[in-house]
């Protein structure tokens, strides 16, 4: 009898508990019924208050400034903390910046690799420590959660094909000079790889010089001036970065060969590169538009933070589009830094 009563009590207790829980759940699902509001609630839960650390090569160039400005504006809007460390073109400082950031445990680490090997070990360690790693424009030998940037091999091919069309087949001396950036960076290595594939396939093209100017316009100027003295009949010079290649363009102008030697560059699209094209100092540049890349990087951050994946589990690749700039009609493929300030 006693057992029966206590069993009954139990049953009543259980039923009322179920009713109450159901009521609560029902109430909760009422709050969820508006999927549009829920979207933002989930988004904020995933990204708000997160920390994103960014280590460029230097903050002293338009490309890094526009990337940083665009990212900053996105992250400010969503309540994401944004840390920037500036190694100022020094590989040792970049390594130090990354190693110290790993200890600080941001949620996402974005790097622009000075060269392909420097950060390889550290990027792996970052992912093992639960940090998402995004690499921008220049890959390291260590793949990571996301790569955002240009397909450098493809850029090399595109530019080389255009050079072959202009200089090959006996139309000119067929002589081409290549001005590399930092020879050990992915930006230079891969463009060179793509370009050499194309040049090697065409017998009328002779690559007379491949020298590294380490992203420095002055050095590009010196190298090109020397090449032009040895090969005044040069048909084209191809620089792996617009700002650096501006130095080469000035050397061509100084040698009185403007218009005769075609100056090509792969460009991130700063205003000065488009102006050089308009002034005829550059023959053509292939812009990948760093301003759009800035948004892509921000998107990659938001994607990873919402993915629920473990760092290092997947690989996301967001490639940039390429745009030829040949004259004033294409000036919108360059960005103005002043717009971000």
């Amino acid at each position: 009898m006693v057992d029966f009563i206590s069993g009954k009590r139990w049953a009543i207790g259980l039923v009322s508990a179920l009713v109450v829980t159901w009521g609560f759940m029902d109430g909760a699902s009422h709050a969820q019924t508006d999927p549009r509001s829920q979207l933002r609630i989930d988004f904020d839960k995933a990204v708000k208050g997160k920390t994103v650390a960014w280590v460029p090569i230097t903050m002293g160039t338009p490309i890094d400034q526009i990337w940083t400005a665009v990212m900053q504006s996105h992250f400010d809007k969503y309540g994401i903390k944004f840390i920037v460390r500036d190694p100022n073109f020094d590989s040792n400082s970049q390594l130090q910046a990354v190693t110290s950031l790993i200890n600080e445990k941001p949620d996402v680490l974005i790097v622009q690799n000075i060269n392909v090997s420097l950060l390889a070990r550290e990027l792996k360690r970052a992912m093992e420590n639960g940090i998402y790693v995004i690499q921008v424009n220049m890959m390291s030998n260590q793949p990571s959660d996301a790569y955002v940037g240009v397909d450098n091999v493809d850029s090399g091919r595109l530019i080389a094909k255009d050079i072959v069309a202009q200089c090959g087949g006996g139309k000119s001396s067929g002589k081409v000079a290549i001005v590399q950036g930092e020879a050990t960076s992915a930006g230079s290595l891969d463009q060179l790889k793509g370009a050499m594939e194309v040049f090697a396939a065409d017998k009328s093209i002779k690559v007379v010089s491949t020298q590294a100017a380490n992203w420095d316009a002055n050095k590009a100027n010196e190298i090109t001036a020397t090449v032009l003295r040895q090969h005044p009949d040069l048909c084209a010079t191809y620089g792996h970065w617009g700002i650096m290649q501006q130095g080469a363009a000035q050397a061509v102008k100084a040698a009185g060969l403007q218009g005769k030697v075609k100056v090509y560059a792969s460009s991130d699209g700063p205003r000065s590169d488009c102006e050089m094209v308009e002034q005829g100092l550059f023959y053509k540049v292939l812009s990948y538009r760093a301003d759009i890349q800035g948004m892509q990087i921000a998107d990659a951050v938001l994607t990873l933070l919402q993915s629920g994946e473990k760092p290092g589990a997947k690989r996301l690749t967001l490639l940039s589009n390429n745009f030829w700039v040949t004259g004033p009609a294409e000036r919108h493929y360059c960005y103005d830094l002043s717009l971000t300030q």
Binding site: N88, D90, S93, Q96, S100, N115, V116, T184
Partner: protein
């Protein structure tokens, strides 16, 4: 006192007035000369000397404390390990410069030797696939040979140290650019790793990073060498006063050569660890490291006129600079500003150093005659 004794004593007194640390180096001299030394109380350690040594140490501790307060997690185990890892190679390069400065010389090419050693290590180990111990020997001998070339030119052919090592710097950097360009693609894609190589770059011994362990071993060995062993004492004596050292029977040429060879060896050792740590074929390695090393040496209170200073001082100077740079990097200081700060620090340290030594020289010249009288027989 005979006339010869008198002359010898005055030489020594001149040397010692310039460098208090020669007191230790005094051991290298003969018994008779040591007897002379002991009669002059001016050679005894002064309070000013200890203060001189204490200031850099205090600055170092102050900086460390400041960053420990300002930077979150600065005192965490992993951060301390990381700090040691990053500190070891620049400090080794500073020691490489330090030993030449002790001997009264200067070496602007330490950064370039360091960079060339790094390239050699990567080349021998990753491209030529040499066994690690053989590759290590190869790297060290490259450093020693370049040091020896510097040393022979300066000690035996009497070229000026500043210009000789500047020329060496330019030659090495040009050569480095050339070989880096030639092997870029191979180096960028080479991916050989062995346990030994991994230990050099990322290993630990009792929780201390591998390169820091080696730094401590090298520093201790170098300290004992410079303060306890005859060739080391000769280096200090030659730096303090070449003429006096020669009169005391020291082969100053051989000593100078020895200092440059040791310097090349230590710079190459730093390059080896850097290669294993970064595996980076980047062409900017070692750029500006010569200036950083010089700044570290001066910050440690080592006199650039030679004969003074110690391994400990160079390490402290190097630590001050390293803490400053890495701390500023962590506090999001713009890159250009940090470089400017190194320059300003160097200038400030040199200025303070000159003022300090002038003041001390003045106080010494006032006090010396009295002490001499009391000490004279």
């Amino acid at each position: 006192m005979t006339q010869a004794e008198d002359r010898s004593a005055s030489f020594l007194r001149g040397a010692l007035a310039r460098s208090p640390s020669l007191r230790v180096a005094g051991r290298a001299f003969s018994e008779r000369e040591r007897g002379l030394l002991s009669r002059y109380p001016v050679f005894r350690r002064r309070f000013g000397d200890s203060l001189d040594a204490a200031v850099p140490l205090l600055v170092m501790c102050g900086l460390f404390a400041a960053f420990a307060l300002l930077v979150p997690n600065y005192l965490s185990g992993s951060n301390l390990q990381q700090l040691m890892r990053d500190y070891a190679e620049p400090c080794l390069v500073a020691l490489a410069l330090g030993i030449v400065v002790f001997a009264g010389g200067i070496d602007l090419s330490v950064g370039a030797i360091f960079a060339l050693a790094k390239f050699t290590a990567l080349y021998l180990f990753r491209i030529e696939m040499w066994p690690l111990p053989v590759a290590v020997l190869g790297v060290l001998s490259v450093g020693a040979v370049i040091g020896a070339i510097n040393g022979v030119l300066i000690a035996y052919l009497k070229t000026r140290a500043f210009l000789t090592t500047l020329a060496m710097l330019l030659i090495l950097r040009a050569g480095l650019d050339f070989v880096t360009n030639a092997y870029t693609i191979e180096l960028a894609n080479a991916w050989r790793d062995t346990e030994g190589w991994y230990w050099l770059g990322a290993g630990y011994f009792l929780g201390v990073p591998s390169n820091m362990v080696i730094l401590l071993v090298v520093a201790l060995a170098l300290h004992l060498f410079l303060t306890r062993l005859r060739p080391g004492l000769h280096i200090m004596a030659t730096g303090a006063d070449r003429k006096a050292a020669r009169h005391a029977g020291i082969n100053t040429r051989r000593v100078t050569l020895l200092a440059y060879v040791l310097s090349g060896l230590i710079a190459a050792l730093a390059g080896l660890f850097y290669a294993a740590r970064q595996s980076s074929a980047g062409s900017d390695t070692g750029l500006g490291w010569g200036v950083t090393a010089l700044t570290a040496v001066v910050l440690g209170g080592v006199s650039l006129s030679g004969g003074g200073g110690s391994v400990g001082r160079v390490m402290i100077g190097s630590a001050i600079l390293f803490l400053l740079m890495s701390g500023l990097l962590r506090m999001n200081m713009p890159g250009g500003a940090s470089s400017a700060l190194i320059g300003a620090t160097l200038l400030g340290a040199v200025g303070i150093h000159i003022q300090w030594s002038r003041r001390r020289a003045r106080s010494r010249s006032v006090r010396s005659p009295v002490s001499d009288q009391r000490g004279a027989p």
